[in-house]
């Protein structure tokens, strides 16, 4: 079965809000094996809503509207759908009762335009809305299923999950299960090169690559009669992929790299201190987003000035003079300095040029050194990142997190 979503509301087209309802609906339908092929947003305009609805009726089996069910003149979804299908709007007594009691409870008088909310197209069923006054609508028409839900996500989502999904899952025969594998240190094109044959021969499960800031993901999706079968179908593909590019693999699904690193540090009781220059505290900020990190994270010094590098991290004046503050040697001394001064198991440092100014031919904007010191060793890696100031800061902090992960894996 093919589904699509239509969001109605001029505020979407003015860019005041983003159509997050489409994402919520897609995720939920995907889990019960219903393919979503299109999302559309259209304004509060009868003619344009009609045209969009006509297109949807021609290409989809299930059409889910969000928005345009409110009491104002702007709210046109039910009226337009009913008029397009030549259905009269009829009063739903149960909905009217609910709206009345909503106003009674608050000691407010129900205005005339609130009656409008209790009207639904003839032959349809109301969907209960426990967080607002507008009921939803479920309408079967010529083999199509048309669903109308309110726009505010906190009203829409419970109605979707408690009424719409249970109804639709009975109609869907299949389950879809996805697993996302996350990679770092390999480009999207090289990764695809290495598993191209797998992508081509696979139709169920499918494999789809996606690049995000500095990382690449592969989504493996299987369709089956039940969850267990779908999960089992994914296993051999996942193994084959890991055999080929496993060295770049670092995590599954929504897991963020700072979460992975924080868990590794906490579970191994490895204490950490950080010295940052160009990232300005971002690495410490990312790590301290994870609850429980205070057990192992001792301190971070953001040594922006050269003076502070010398005073707080014991970076030698000679090092800065001879090699510069952005150098392999400075990164090494920063990592060692912070580790020894704070008495932690490991010390991590970042020094680089975030731009837009400060770059030279020899040391361009984006050049970053990341240092890692433990009891035995100090290792420094050199990176060259693309992008503007905040992108370089994020890429450098992420690179440091991935370096910590690798080092902990090797030494642990």
């Amino acid at each position: 079965m093919k589904a699509e979503t239509i969001a109605v509301g001029s505020e979407l087209l003015l860019g005041q809000i983003s159509n997050t309802n489409a994402q919520i609906i897609s995720k939920a339908l995907q889990k019960i094996g219903i393919d979503v092929f299109y999302h559309t947003c259209v304004g509060d305009n009868e003619e344009r809503i009609k045209q969009v609805f006509k297109i949807a009726m021609e290409r989809s089996d299930i059409i889910i509207f969000t928005g345009g069910l409110g009491p104002t003149m702007d709210d046109l979804t039910k009226e337009t759908v009913a008029s397009f299908l030549n259905l009269p709007l009829v009063l739903d007594e149960s909905s009217l009762k609910k709206i009345k009691s909503y106003f009674d409870k608050r000691g407010r008088t129900m205005t005339q335009n609130n009656y409008k909310q209790a009207l639904i197209p003839e032959g349809s069923e109301p969907i209960m809305n426990k967080n607002g006054t507008a009921p939803g609508v479920l309408l079967k028409f010529c083999g199509k299923i048309i669903i109308m839900l309110p726009g505010p996500p906190f009203e829409m989502e419970p109605m979707l999950m408690e009424s719409v999904i249970p109804y639709l899952s009975k109609l869907s025969q299949k389950t879809i299960f996805s697993r996302v594998l996350k990679f770092y240190g390999i480009g999207e094109s090289l990764l695809e090169e290495k598993i191209k044959d797998l992508i081509i021969i696979q139709s169920n499960p499918t494999i789809a690559p996606l690049a995000k800031m500095g990382e690449v993901t592969l989504r493996i999706t299987a369709k089956a009669q039940d969850l267990e079968t779908a999960e089992k179908m994914i296993q051999p593909i996942e193994k084959e992929i890991k055999d080929r590019v496993g060295e770049y693999f670092y995590g599954y699904d929504e897991e963020r790299i700072e979460e992975i690193v924080a868990k590794m540090l906490i579970s191994s009781k490895t204490t950490i201190s950080i010295a940052e220059s160009c990232t300005g505290g971002l690495l410490a900020h990312k790590l301290t987003d994870i609850p429980g990190i205070s057990d192992v994270f001792d301190r971070c010094i953001v040594s922006y000035s050269n003076k502070s590098k010398q005073e707080l991290l014991r970076v030698k004046a000679e090092t800065i003079e001879k090699h510069g503050a952005v150098s392999e040697k400075a990164a090494a001394e920063m990592a060692e300095g912070i580790r020894i001064l704070s008495g932690t198991d490991i010390g991590v440092s970042i020094t680089g040029i975030a731009g837009p100014g400060g770059g030279t031919q020899e040391k361009p904007v984006g050049l970053v050194y990341i240092g890692f010191a433990d009891l035995r060793n100090t290792i420094v890696e050199e990176y060259l990142f693309n992008g503007c100031r905040d992108v370089i800061k994020h890429r450098a902090a992420n690179a440091a997190l991935h370096m910590i992960r690798r080092m902990l894996e090797t030494t642990g």
Copy 2:
């Protein structure tokens, strides 16, 4: 002129990401007086992209694609548009050079599928992408303007703002001019209450309130034939609003509070150092996002452990024992300590409980003390923030920035 956006990518239809690009584009087009009538999302499927493109060509003058410009087989936008319009794809030498140099710089080999990114439909112009390898495309065809931009927002947005909007604004005849007034320290409903009569009587300019995390904005929008007239129409409304709630006003439009504070520090040559606890480096990260801050920002110490507070900031053991690390006294000592140790004009401190653990009846999650020390005085403010760990971190860092602004205004 009517515009619409088409986002290409199965990850949107699977609900993995939300189509935030449509919002960014709509906002930008609205400002230059171009109406956006539809947003569509479609998967990585040639047939369906073609159908969606055909519908768009029939109803819109400007069509802006996002996504599907990458190097993999899944990336089909350029190929599908070119094939639908019967245009061959030709190699753009300047784009190829950029892609090559990207790989050269990193010592990586360019794979065959990266060549694909340098192909553009015959007769079109490439749009430079400074944050990635895929160039955008600008194509004029039979009176329509077709624009293709990459999917990742951090690549798409600079290309939109720096290339597409300047180009389209020349074509637009109408001007819409908006000014956003930003307020801090007043709730949305109270603000609205105070200017309700203005909102009701205004139709051009209009006034629209919007609440974001910890701040409220008012957007004043005027439509006119030219920019100068629109700007003039806004002035009396702006003055009236400031007369009523000016004490909470802090800035205009997209200006972030960290930008305002950084500018104040740089222009007055006021040097600053920071001591953070619960915000974990976020305040320093925000400030260091602003180019030029290195002239005045000396260092930040993220003193997560009590030991580091004593060692690095000279917080007294007695203070921590008697009042706790989250206390007015600890905040004062942190601000004074960092200021004296780094020899800067001002020292700022944050200590609090970000949660989810660590809260007590007396000191609940969300309790935060912010200290400000200069040569003459030390001032500490107490806050209680709502929200989860990362929201509390952001609210605390923003509160510190607003406090710095107020202090600089008073003392400056």
